[in-house]
């Protein structure tokens, strides 16, 4: 109800506004004219000028494929505030170094905003890193991937439909808007985090967690029209933000992608997939976890969801899963099918400047994706050949590393054993939890019963093992020689704070989940979260078409944070002295780059030859220790194997990286490492009859993990000191302020041998997409 005074104010505002705008001469303008374009070696779907720094030899473009803002429900419940600028627009401005972004203070209050990165930042109350950070080095490209399932609810909870929506007072909105938490004044501040965790579970399990008859949240089931309208508003905002951030000039300073995340979370297992669209032609409404239901729920107000078992119906939407199959999990197939129908086949596409719609889906966190118990892994066994092809076609990439740990492989020094590996370098950012329940602050980490043994994880929780299974399928011709898991790699952060492309291994890391890990070393469930890393593509130019094609052909790699430049080529006849020549030119002309299949082997060819090079991050300046080539293969009996070869640099001490560290500076000893490495390597164990894959892992010299620096700076205890525990105990027995510090840094003295796995010293790294070798010239194998 507005007062007469308010009406007067509004009329005056409108009248004055109209006058001012008229005086300024606003009008709807026309699109700028497009320059004629050259013909590059990739499909052009956008009418735009080629970049002035276009290079056929391709350059490394650093970006992100996975990032959340306050527009994600699970960020909002942790006080990451859409209205305070933590939204897709804010994230893109942050990524370009144009603007700081606001992250809630540990208390839940919003920080004092600062308009520019030049303005001084203030510390939050009680100390700690700035809550209005700026990126240290601008990013080249990125995609905001907010959770799509709750776009509708977020729309009206955040007021995008105006204020006269009674559903904005629903329980769902109360949870999303954090009504339950009294910042600063709570008798027990920890209650805020625990309530946020409960909200996460309630908002996730009810619809994203089912396997069949999945539904939307109750407030949307009661008013589907409202939710549909709000969903369009939010999806429109995501698209508009991406469009505004995209540099369509020939300067090509930044490329954005329209994207979202499918949040399928059956029984809190992570089956999430990011969906990235090639250009501004995208699906009108996101296809998401609800579309992964085995059976569609036609009356969600009456029909309960099914969380245990379902029978696959005889319907085209679930093709190629055989009808009658009993499953205890949702299905990615109807999700892919609908995306293909709506996008690729153009049945439900937005208008736009581009010529057609195209997409890729990128699964992430297989380390939390099931497979260690009765619940299957996110990388399911294909049902048949058509399904195997579908896997290969729809998911060309997998996220190998992010805030919630590494998914490459697992070696646990507490057991001196690994999950189908003896590679000790796999003891890197491994999580103790097996599901999102423990990794997202919902519940504790390893619990009181101690860490779980490596063999209790499903093999397919780790990407290297998935790759091995893929070539095993191909070798055994299970699906007519198709390798369903021929995936390249990217890294990401998955941060829920809008900090696109920022992965500082310093004391300035503000946590990745709002109030939940604002003190990232306070408890076991959150301290295992790291700072993530960039996705890197080798592309001719910084445009949507060029980058998207690079993603599809898997000429990609990921890092754990630093911006190393890594090349990897495979062929049959590279010269041994290629490093002393233009090895990039040789690499492309004589073979394939990362992500490719070795050219067909001829009778005169011996073993495959690989060229690989790595250049350090010139800003961080941590030197490189070594380049490893990791090979997986299948023997004549169908058994898979792996081996790690150091091909350049020096083998380090995988389980004792502290040995190479200067503990005072927290940097590697200066005499160690190289700024650049290169090698030409011929596989000494090659057997032309064996299916194989090869990928590169580049390791930096050891440095302190951000958590070590954070504990030193903000808590006043030194994780590298032998008296760390005494320092922490002294705080626990000290003044109230010291006790508070001790609580905030409760896990500062954890290490790689304690119940909660945490490395105070790490070796940052990069992982490339593999290059595959297939002995059988199966006509289907390359499809």
């Amino acid at each position: 109800m507005q007062s007469p005074q308010a009406v007067g104010l509004v009329s005056r505002l409108a009248a004055t506004g109209a006058l001012v705008l008229a005086a300024l001469g606003f009008a709807i303008g026309a699109n700028p004219p497009w320059e004629p374009s050259a013909k590059p070696p990739f499909e052009i779907t956008e009418d735009r000028p080629r970049c002035k720094d276009y290079t056929p030899k391709r350059r490394a473009l650093f970006g992100t494929t996975h990032l959340h803002t306050g527009l994600s429900f699970d960020a909002s419940i942790r006080f990451v505030d859409y209205a305070n600028g933590n939204n897709p627009r804010g994230a893109y401005l942050f990524a370009q170094g144009k603007q700081p972004i606001s992250i809630p203070e540990p208390s839940g209050l919003q920080p004092k905003r600062r308009a520019s990165c030049n303005d001084p930042a203030t510390e939050p109350e009680g100390g700690g890193p700035s809550r209005t950070p700026c990126i240290d080095e601008p990013l080249d490209w990125g995609a905001v991937t907010d959770h799509s399932e709750h776009f509708g609810v977020m729309g009206f909870c955040k007021g995008l439909l105006g204020k006269d929506v009674s559903e904005s007072l629903s329980m769902e909105c109360r949870m999303i808007n954090g009504f339950f938490y009294e910042p600063l004044r709570a008798l027990n501040p920890a209650l805020g985090k625990s309530m946020a965790s409960n909200a996460f579970t309630q908002l996730t399990l009810t619809n994203d967690g089912a396997i069949s008859k999945n539904t939307n949240l109750p407030v949307c089931n009661n008013n589907p029209e409202l939710c549909a309208k709000a969903e369009l508003e939010v999806w429109g905002e995501v698209q508009n933000a991406a469009e505004e951030a995209y540099d369509r000039s020939d300067e090509c300073r930044f490329t954005s992608f329209v994207a979202y995340e499918n949040t399928s979370t059956p029984l809190l297992n992570n089956w999430h997939r990011n969906v990235i669209f090639r250009n501004d032609r995208v699906v009108r409404t996101p296809v998401n976890a609800i579309d992964m239901a085995v059976v569609v729920n036609t009356d969600p107000t009456r029909e309960p969801v099914d969380t245990l078992l379902a029978v696959v119906p005889n319907e085209p939407r679930v093709w190629p899963v055989p009808p009658g199959t009993k499953v205890n999990h949702p299905l990615p197939q109807p999700f892919w099918n609908k995306l293909e129908e709506d996008c690729t086949k153009g049945k439900n596409v937005t208008p736009g400047k581009a010529s057609r719609c195209d997409f890729i889906t990128i699964p992430h966190n297989s380390n939390l994706g099931g497979g260690g118990n009765l619940f299957p892994p996110m990388f399911l066994d294909p049902y048949n050949t058509a399904d195997a092809k579908r896997h290969q076609q729809m998911e060309p990439l997998v996220e190998i590393y992010q805030d919630k740990g590494a998914s490459e492989c697992r070696y646990d020094p507490r057991f001196l054993a690994g999950t189908d590996t003896i590679d000790e370098y796999c003891a890197f950012e491994i999580l103790d939890g097996k599901s999102l329940g423990s990794a997202s602050g919902v519940g504790s980490g390893s619990g009181s019963s101690g860490p779980a043994a490596p063999d209790t994880w499903g093999e397919r929780a780790y990407v290297r093992n998935v790759w091995k299974d893929g070539i095993q399928y191909a070798a055994q011709k299970t699906f007519e020689g198709i390798n369903p898991f021929k995936m390249g790699v990217v890294s990401a952060s998955d941060s829920h704070t809008g900090v696109m492309g920022w992965h500082p291994e310093t004391d300035q890391w503000p946590g990745h989940l709002g109030i939940d890990d604002a003190y990232p070393m306070s408890e076991a469930s959150s301290i295992q979260n790291s700072t993530g890393g960039p996705s890197v593509v080798w592309a001719e130019e910084n445009t949507r078409d060029a980058i998207f094609e690079a993603l599809k052909r898997k000429e990609t790699y990921g890092t754990s944070g630093p911006r190393m430049k890594v090349r990897f080529f495979g062929g049959w006849g590279y010269p041994a002295d290629a490093c002393g020549k233009d090895f990039v030119d040789l690499g492309y002309k004589g073979g394939v780059p990362m992500g490719g299949d070795l050219p067909a082997r001829t009778a005169k060819d011996g073993a495959p030859v690989f060229i690989t090079s790595a250049v350090w991050d010139g800003n961080i300046k941590t030197k490189l220790q070594q380049i490893q080539v990791i090979k997986g293969w299948v023997d004549a009996k169908g058994k898979t194997h792996e081996r790690v070869y150091t091909v350049a640099g020096d083998p380090g001490s995988p389980l004792n990286p502290q040995a190479d560290l200067d503990a005072e500076t927290c940097k590697a000893k200066p005499e160690l490492g190289r700024e650049r490495l290169c090698a030409v390597w011929k596989d000494p164990d090659f057997d032309p009859r064996q299916h194989a894959f090869y990928y590169v892992r580049v390791l930096e010299e050891p440095v302190c993990r951000y958590s070590t620096l954070w504990c030193r700076q903000w808590i006043g205890v030194d994780p590298l000191s032998s008296s760390c525990s005494s320092q922490l105990t002294a705080l626990q027995n000290g003044t109230p302020a010291q006790k508070a510090k001790a609580s905030q840094g409760a896990m500062c003295c954890s290490n790689q041998t304690t119940d909660t796995f945490l490395q105070p010293v790490i070796q940052e790294r990069a992982w490339t997409s593999p290059i595959w070798y297939e002995p059988a010239a199966s006509p289907l194998a390359q499809k």
Binding site: M1, L9, G25, A83, L109, G159, K163, F179, V615
Partner: protein, 317 residues
């Protein structure tokens, strides 16, 4: 009668009547009336303490004046938001209902609307930081959005572009040739580069002869005009910064890059020059809208301030 006229009770009655008439006249809008905004002294004290905590020193008179002005702006926006009924929006309602829980006799039976209204009736919204921030931000966004949703006219964009040419300038460009010493195969590439430089100088080698001494690397020997950003993408940041500081003519000292070390010859340097409007159209439009939205907000705040009597302790209103 005279005695009665001297009675104090009559004097009090007359005075009361006079006050009543004056008050009534004001209330009946016969006299101009302004709503009063008073910045409480305790808030000023809190501001001062926060400033000292953040900066380690007391605010200068200028800084203090700026802080008070910002506080007044926030207060005006808060009143404006209340006048528009923004306390009815969902976030504010939820918060109001939450703080009303403390005063409701039986909060479990009260409705959200009822609790929020009770909070307002009790004036709890005035003192709650969260409600104030929600309302002030909402008011600020509403006022700015009037401008931000528009598309600026081409002539306004052009005027802005002309007035801010320095912000839309192509950076300096440089054209170079380079002798690379391949660091991938020569760990002592810096020393090797220095030896080659020495040889060029000692033997007085010509340009082409010097170029012939280069190792092969993926980097081209002769490069087109490039900006610092382009050089950084190709060779790394250290190389770009060093090259941009060179003057044309003559071989440089060894410069490190992603490929090794280089001796660089700068052929020509092009000073920064404005980019054509067409190339930065979107960026200029965004900048125009942001500037106009800021101006519009300032204008509206000035207008709205005039509607209030503003009182700051220690300062004339």
């Amino acid at each position: 009668m005279r005695k009665w006229l001297k009675a104090p009770a009559l004097h009090m009655l007359a005075l009361g009547a006079l006050l009543f008439i004056i008050t009534d006249l004001r209330g009946g809008a016969l006299l101009p009336q302004k709503k009063r905004i008073e910045i409480p002294a305790h808030r000023l004290e809190q501001m001062a303490q926060e400033f000292i905590r953040d900066t380690g020193h007391r605010p200068t008179p200028h800084e203090w004046e700026q802080m008070i002005e910002m506080q007044i702006d926030d207060e005006v926006l808060f009143q404006y938001a209340l006048a528009l009924g923004m306390q009815e929006n969902s976030a504010a309602q939820a918060r109001l209902a939450q703080i009303a829980d403390f005063v409701e006799a039986n909060p479990h039976e009260a409705t959200q609307d009822g609790k929020a209204r009770a909070a307002i009736d009790l004036g709890l919204h005035e003192g709650d930081l969260v409600v104030r921030r929600i309302l002030v931000d909402s008011a600020r966004r509403l006022i700015r959005s009037v401008v931000l949703v528009q598309k600026p006219a081409p002539d306004v964009v052009r005027q802005f572009y002309t007035a801010h040419a320095a912000d839309f300038t192509r950076p300096a460009q440089v054209r170079i040739s380079q002798i690379a010493i391949n660091g991938f195969v020569r760990p002592d590439s810096e020393e090797q580069a220095r030896n080659i430089l020495q040889r060029i100088r000692t033997e007085n080698l010509g340009f082409e002869a010097a170029l012939a001494l280069a190792d092969k690397t993926p980097a081209p020997v002769r490069l087109p005009m490039m900006s610092g950003e382009d050089l950084e993408a190709e060779f790394g940041g250290d190389f770009a910064r060093a090259v941009l500081a060179l003057k044309p003519g003559g071989w440089s000292e060894p410069i490190p890059s992603d490929y090794g070390h280089h001796l660089v010859w700068v052929h020509e340097v092009e000073a920064p020059r404005p980019l054509p409007l067409e190339a930065v159209q979107t960026e200029v439009e965004q900048a125009v809208l942001q500037k106009l939205a800021d101006d519009w907000l300032k204008l509206r705040l000035r207008e709205m301030r005039a509607e209030f009597e503003i009182v700051v302790p220690g300062r004339a209103s």
